[in-house]
């Protein structure tokens, strides 16, 4: 057996010249944080069993601790350091388990753990009566760890594995209420779409790694020129875009996200607005230094992003459910982020980072709020709600703050986000033109100019969304309902309130947020130090401010006309029959049909057809190359053949013929047994006692087995007519001829040294055995044997289950 790999050794190291941080202690904690979350996921159900109604506070406290540790690393990272941690994982393939926290990764990690804390606490209240709450904790922590892995990964294989883990945990979470068919279908939809993209992503990442000559991100990111000028650049870009677009619900893959609203509210808030759907956007931002700046990159990202931004905003009008409205607005925001990364100027990247932060805060708050409202009122549609402010004051405060942030009203973080978005779309053209020496191209000036009206239009529509979800339910007359609403428990109002309040603090402390969080993240994306104007809440009377005012004004008008708008959107939704969602359903139906058809044809349940298929396919596949390469050994002397061999051959042939012509079942079985014994005799004659012994025993047991089942078999009959017999004869002869030719050709072509010589040489010295057959079985090729006995065991259990099934069916009949 070849050595599989050296024992895994753990080593921690630091890379890079800028790294001024005391490495080992800090980086070790980074790995420990990740392991802690996965460890908690493992024990969560047991913890819940032990702690009951306090589990969420306990888990929340641990995640909050990790968040605090991450936040404490901000100053160091802001001063230019990058945290690295690595240990050898699959050294034979050169894959290291390496993590890296730069400005971008740390920002994402903070969002994941910060909002994660609130989500865990919120879930404890929201699902308090759910019998599977412990399992929910496990899933959500599994997701948290995977997502943290995605944003901190330094090796692209590690990144991909965590990426797929987020898809799987998302599947488990969307389908959490697994007894509802709608939840299961939505979970499958999300899984199929994102994992299809994941496959493309894997291919893209591997190609990129090959092009750059490294699988370590920190090395790939410094070799952008090599990657961009590589012949495979366009395929790499397309494949990675597919992965990012499916994950981040970009048009035309946006349809899985609204469907995913079947998940419980905390899941929607966490995975499908604040974190997982941002993974695609994060990946694009992360890979900007390696792939970004080319016309292909800018063109595709800006186009996809702008279309998604508009489609999401328009579709958000066509829904009534609180969560579906929010989901479509999330699609729109994700499009905006993709567009900004595509533009790629300093202003645009800064806007993307700000917008991402602001959105994570206000949209997370709004989703949780929608959950709280539905939890309290048992109502799910936006237009059924009203006058909740008096009954649920704290939730209402959270709603108003989040709504103001989403509308982009000072002094909230959302205001700065939207201002910089407008600034980015307006200045993109001139900035790209100015940076002549930069690698950013100049061909996209014209379309970028026209992005500003599109962004303004999309945000007018989103204004309608936010009023419907964040403001209207709390104002006006309260509606009569079966469940008089009451303020929800602390764990349920903390969830929406904290991010909403953080949004206001972030806006007021814009300067600090800018230098501590935004600037390092922008530097990580741009891959170079930059000098941007420090962030400020108030820039004076600028064109952007005018655009903001215009957005608000337009939004108010649209809101006033919302009934007509909703009608128009509803008539638009008839287009959906030809949309990607319907396409998905049709593709799935076609796939199922194809699977059913081929199963009916190939797995038809008739043993004779299976044999026919297997044998004829083998004859074709082996026979064709065999005819090309056939080489027969020279037969020099036929007198070597002794009468004993001739007798054996004749015996085998006669018993085989007897088996075919037999008219009774016992005769056929006996004749087959004779064939088996003849073969065993050949083994004896050629000195393979082990094989012979096993063959004798097998044949004996086989005949006994046949005798045992005789009683259950239908009367012996001959199904095949003359034509079928002729066909079978020809196939049998062809198969026999093919095997003969194969063996003769193998004998003639023995250019390689034979492996059996190695076994003969080493059997006694290395494996302490003189019986080479046995040594091969239990030592040299033991893992094959392990596989074989496992297959044997599975087959036996299968036979047992089938017989048992039949027996219980029979009993059922007798009753």
């Amino acid at each position: 057996m070849a050595p599989v790999g050296k024992p895994v050794t753990l080593f921690l190291q630091t890379f890079g010249q800028q790294d001024t941080h005391p490495a080992s202690a800090v980086t070790k904690i980074m790995i420990e944080c990740l392991l802690t979350i996965f460890g908690l996921a493992l024990v969560a159900p047991f913890l819940h069993w032990a702690l009951r109604s306090t589990t969420h506070w306990f888990l929340g406290a641990i995640v909050a601790g990790i968040t605090t540790w991450l936040a404490l690393q901000l100053p160091a990272v802001a001063s230019g350091a990058t945290l690295h941690a690595a240990f050898a994982w699959v050294p034979a393939l050169g894959v290291n388990f390496s993590l890296m926290a730069d400005g971008l990764g740390l920002l994402m990690a903070l969002i994941i753990c910060g909002i994660g804390t609130l989500i865990v606490i919120y879930a404890g209240g929201y699902l308090a009566d759910h019998p599977l709450l412990g399992r929910f904790y496990a899933y959500i922590l599994l997701f948290m760890g995977s997502m943290l892995g995605v944003v901190l990964a330094d090796n692209i294989i590690v990144l991909f594995i965590f990426w797929e883990l987020t898809s799987i945990s998302s599947y488990l979470l969307i389908g959490f209420d697994h007894e509802r068919a709608a939840a299961r279908a939505a979970a499958l939809k999300a899984l199929l779409v994102t994992s299809l993209g994941g496959l493309a992503l894997l291919a893209g990442l591997l190609l990129m790694g090959t092009a750059a000559g490294s699988y370590e991100l920190n090395e790939i990111l410094t070799r952008g020129d090599v990657v961009r000028s590589h012949t495979l650049y366009v395929p790499i870009l397309i494949l990675i875009l597919l992965g990012a677009a499916t994950k981040s619900a970009q048009f035309p893959f946006h349809f899985w996200l609204p469907a995913a609203m079947e998940a419980p509210s905390p899941v929607s808030a966490y995975l499908h607005s604040a974190t997982m759907v941002k993974a695609g956007v994060f990946l694009l931002a992360r890979l900007t230094p390696a792939l970004g700046g080319t016309p292909a990159w800018q063109g595709s990202l800006v186009a996809i992003g702008a279309i998604t931004m508009l489609v999401g905003a328009i579709l958000s009008l066509s829904s009534d459910g609180l969560k579906r409205i929010l989901a479509y607005s999330t699609v729109s925001v994700l499009g905006t982020l993709t567009m900004l990364i595509g533009i790629g100027t300093l202003t645009a990247i800064q806007a993307a980072v700000l917008y991402l932060m602001a959105h994570a805060l206000y949209k997370g708050a709004l989703f949780l709020l929608a959950g709280s409202v539905s939890h309290a009122t048992h109502l799910y549609d936006a237009d059924d709600l009203g006058g909740l402010a008096r009954r649920m004051p704290l939730t209402a405060v959270a709603g108003f703050l989040a709504a103001l942030s989403m509308m982009g009203i000072p002094p909230l973080l959302g205001f700065i986000g939207k201002e910089s978005l407008y600034e980015a779309t307006m200045t993109a053209a001139s900035e790209i033109g100015k940076a002549g020496t930069d690698h950013y191209s100049t061909g996209w000036t014209r379309p970028i100019m026209s992005l500003t009206p599109l962004a303004v239009a999309a945000h007018m529509l989103l204004f309608v969304v936010v009023v419907r979800v964040g403001v209207r339910p709390f104002l006006g007359r309260s509606r009569p309902s079966a469940h008089p609403p009451q303020e929800v428990s602390p764990s349920l109002w903390l969830g929406p309130l904290v991010p909403a309040v953080v949004g206001i603090i972030g806006g007021l402390l814009a300067g600090n947020v800018g230098s501590l969080i935004v600037a390092p993240a922008v530097m990580a994306v741009r891959g170079e130090p930059h000098e941007a104007a420090p962030l400020a809440l108030w820039h004076g009377l600028t064109p952007e401010l005018a655009l903001s005012a215009l957005t608000l004004f337009g939004g108010l008008i649209l809101f006033a006309a919302r009934r007509r708008l909703v009608q128009a959107a509803a008539s638009l939704s008839r287009l959906a029959d030809w949309g990607p969602d319907a396409g998905y359903d049709r593709a799935l139906a076609t796939l199922n049909l194809a699977a059913k058809t081929q199963t009916r044809v190939l797995q038809n349940g008739y043993l004779r057809w299976y044999l026919l298929t297997v044998l004829s396919v083998t004859v074709l596949l082996v026979g064709y190359p065999l005819i090309e390469h056939m080489e027969l050994p020279e037969i020099k002397n036929l007198s070597d053949i002794w009468h004993f061999e001739l007798m054996l051959a004749a015996m085998t042939l006669i018993s085989a013929y007897a088996a075919v012509r037999a008219t009774t079942r016992l005769g056929a079985v006996a004749a087959l047994g004779a064939v088996g014994y003849s073969v065993a005799l050949i083994y004896v004659y050629y000195g393979a006692p082990d094989l012979a012994m096993t063959q004798f025993l097998i044949e004996t047991l086989m005949v006994i087995l046949f005798v045992l089942v005789f009683y259950h078999l239908p009367p012996f009959s001959i199904f095949s007519g003359r034509a079928a017999r002729l066909r079978d004869t020809l196939l049998a002869l062809a198969f026999g001829a093919m095997m003969t030719m194969l063996i003769l050709t193998t004998r003639a072509n023995q250019s390689q040294p034979r492996i059996s010589e190695y076994f003969v040489e080493h059997s006694l010295t290395e494996a302490h055995g003189r019986n080479i057959v046995n040594v091969i079985l239990v030592d040299f090729r033991a893992i094959d044997t392990l596989g074989e006995i496992t297959v044997l065991a599975v087959a036996a259990v299968g036979v047992f289950a089938l017989l048992k099934l039949r027996r219980s069916a029979k009993k059922e009949e007798m009753r």
Partner: protein, 137 residues
Amino acid sequence: MKSVILSTASRLVHPLLLMFSVFLLLRGHNEPGGGFSGGLMAASAFVLHALAHDAQTARRALKVQPQTLIGAGLLAALAAGIVALAIGEPFLTGSWTSFHMPGLGEWTLGTPLLFDVGVYLVVVGVSMLIILSMAED
């Protein structure tokens, strides 16, 4: 199929066959034999029992459920592999130890023997599970 001769003979031959199967298993490393043929031999001992009496008697003679034998066999084979992992070698690497037994001479034992015992148990279990289920049906 009740036959006095067969049932009397099987009572005598059954233990002999079982002993022979263990003999095959143990000598397998150096002479023809091993877990596969040993296991089949043991299975045929029980099948003889089943033919001479009936399936229930053979099942009683087996003492344990065939499923248990399969599980124990797989575990033994797996354990033989894990021994290697525990001492820092790749999975399933054979490791050996020699010791002197007074009166019996030098003995060499290794994880491949444990592995072969696993194979033996799986083969007995699988054959008995299939044959007994069919015979009892």
